[in-house]
Amino acid sequence: MAIRVQAAAFDPGQELNALHAANTGIGAVVGFVGYVRDFNDGRDVGGLFLEHFPGMTEKALARIVEEANQRWPLLRVDILHRIGRLEPGEPIVFVGTASAHRQAAFEACNFVMDYLKTRAPFWKKEDTAEGPRWVEGRASDQDAAGRWAKG
């Protein structure tokens, strides 16, 4: 498991390949890459600044990975999230999951992203023509995370 919170850019292809590298028991790798859009909530976005809560962020991500490991038979989970200044088109987040069979990797990747979006202390501030604005949390993200609740 690797959890990285960094200002530096990353190469999603390299991250995806690294997931499989050391373990030939892995039969399936699923990767998600999130990018900075140039448009959000009806306005052009010229870039954004990503703030986080140093100290808590890594712990929150580790807890999400721990929970994914309890739910699915995973062989590896990597999370990489950028902070600081980002331009449209740049990768902002990578989540990769590896398992013997595909369903666990697909579902766990989806789960990790849903929980990251609602439980990890990151905040986006976008640059728009009207000036910078903090992105508001979305109810749809809360709903997406809620579907993993155990009944």
Partner: protein, 83 residues
């Protein structure tokens, strides 16, 4: 002593990244601490009083019913928007 941190929009609107409050047994929960801070004025009520508020105690997400102890590190922040 309780350390309180504010992040993102809350920090900007309040003009404050962190504050320290003397320990008070009346502040039994994180919700009590929130209520105490909301009483400070309009800006406090507008930010910390909002629905989407999230909080953490000692760097773990928690609910408003979370018990508070002397020496705790509490954080209040708007709904997270990473990913």
């Amino acid at each position: 002593m309780i350390r309180v941190q504010f992040f993102a929009r809350y920090r900007e609107v309040l003009g404050l990244a962190e504050d320290r409050l003397a320990w008070d047994a009346d502040l039994a929960t994180v919700g009590d601490l929130r209520e105490h801070l909301v009483q400070r004025g309009d800006l406090w009520a507008e930010t910390l009083g909002e629905r989407g508020l999230m909080c953490a105690r000692n760097e773990e997400l928690c609910g408003l019913a979370e018990p508070l102890r002397d020496g705790d590190d509490v954080a209040f922040f708007p709904t997270v928007t990473g990913g």
